[in-house]
């Protein structure tokens, strides 16, 4: 049912993050960076389905492969 509605979860493994910020560049509604060390901040774990293409781009661009999408 969730998949039909386009509902998806964003999962971030913070220990992998290297602070590149590429996720913020492509999906600023979903990601931000901590000021002190540039580590990722997940703003919305369940973003609007319309943001899925942007989040998919963030997944591929992350140099540490720290982001994944889960369809629940």
């Amino acid at each position: 049912m969730n998949k039909q509605l386009g509902i998806f979860q964003v999962v971030v493994e913070d220990h992998k993050c290297v602070g590149a910020g590429q996720c913020v560049v492509v999906a600023p509604e979903v990601f931000d960076q901590r000021d002190e060390d540039g580590m990722v901040v997940l703003l919305q774990a369940q973003p609007d389905p319309a943001l899925r293409p942007a989040v998919e781009k963030a997944v591929r661009l992350c140099p540490a492969l720290a982001i994944r999408i889960e369809d629940r």
Binding site: K16, V18, G19, A20, G21, Q22, V24, V25, Q33, R34, D35, D37, G38, M39, E56, R60, L61, P63, A64, L65
Partner: protein, 393 residues
Amino acid sequence: MTGPSPQQIVIVGASAAGVSAAMALRDQGYAGRLTLVDAQPHLPYERPPLSKRVLTLPDEEPSWLYPAQEYSHKAIDLRLGLRAQRLQEGAVHLDNGEALPFDRLLIATGVTARQWPGQMQMQGTHVLRSWDDALRLRQQLRQARRVLVIGAGVLGCEVTASARSLGLHVTLIDPQPVPMQRQLGPVLGGLLADLHRAQGVDLLCATGVQRLLAQDGRFAGVQTDDGRTLAADLLVVAIGAAPSTDWLQGSGLDLREGVVCDAYCRAADGIYAAGDVARWTCVHSGKLRRVEHRMHAAEQGAHAAANMLGPQQVFDPTPFFWSDQYQVKIQGYGFVEEGDEPVVAAGEVQSGRFVMAFIARGRVTALVGWNAARDLRLLRGRIGLPREQLAAA
């Protein structure tokens, strides 16, 4: 060989560039055969942690690029432990006798760590490129007391920081005047030198190693070019890496310092290269460049994949790199060239948080952040713009 729609794609080299290309091909709807081959036996893994957490955390495991099932899930035929030996007549020939014919080929075989002459004949010497190298180095660091690192590039500096944080005595030697001169330029390189010295590293810049010394078949130290003898019990050689192109001899490709490509990452009809091995043509300057950064590999792999399937797009990246040393996060965008003028664009050097911009011919060519990830990200768009625009809000 190069029809409009490829049906068989072969990727040689399953690290960051090769795996990124494979995933991008499937993402873009390529439904034909896709073979990803690598000489190493391990599932594809991340290299950046090998000089950092893998050395400092005793039980750290490899960080896989993707879980094993992801490859089969995407119908990517991952063939590990097979070495490509020859490229001939539209096929890649492997060391097990198999031939892999292709409509499109991506060469992503990366680089091989350069060794110091004679180091293989002594125990206690290391290069660092693979997971196996890292495991061996981690084990030996446990018993070491005095570590000597030859080469103060990114890898040498990171290994030094890791060994120092394990409480070992570390000497870092390089003939350049400052560490990471190529990536940071002389001013930032000087700050990095200060950082290492403040952490207790015995940093010897503008110094060359004359020869390695051994005792009873074990590394015992080095003789420097200014006549000093430095004793140590573990050696890490971090003097750079050579593109892995031996297997392409006789293929007809231009192999001068990597696989030479045009501005589309194309080495020949239907043949592309990406990552550390690729020396591609920069569209604006016509210069050939080869970049050994993690994110660049993924970007170029994905770009080559897109070019394999559809209309050719010029590859014109703004490479990103990072280096974590002690409590400092160094990050950069663009290309720092000799003679570029460094200008503080955000923060202050004194506070330990700043962004340095590099100016050439009146324009911003590169940015390097020092514990300033957010500021760096916000300034990224200024690359290519006139220097006056750095101050704009």
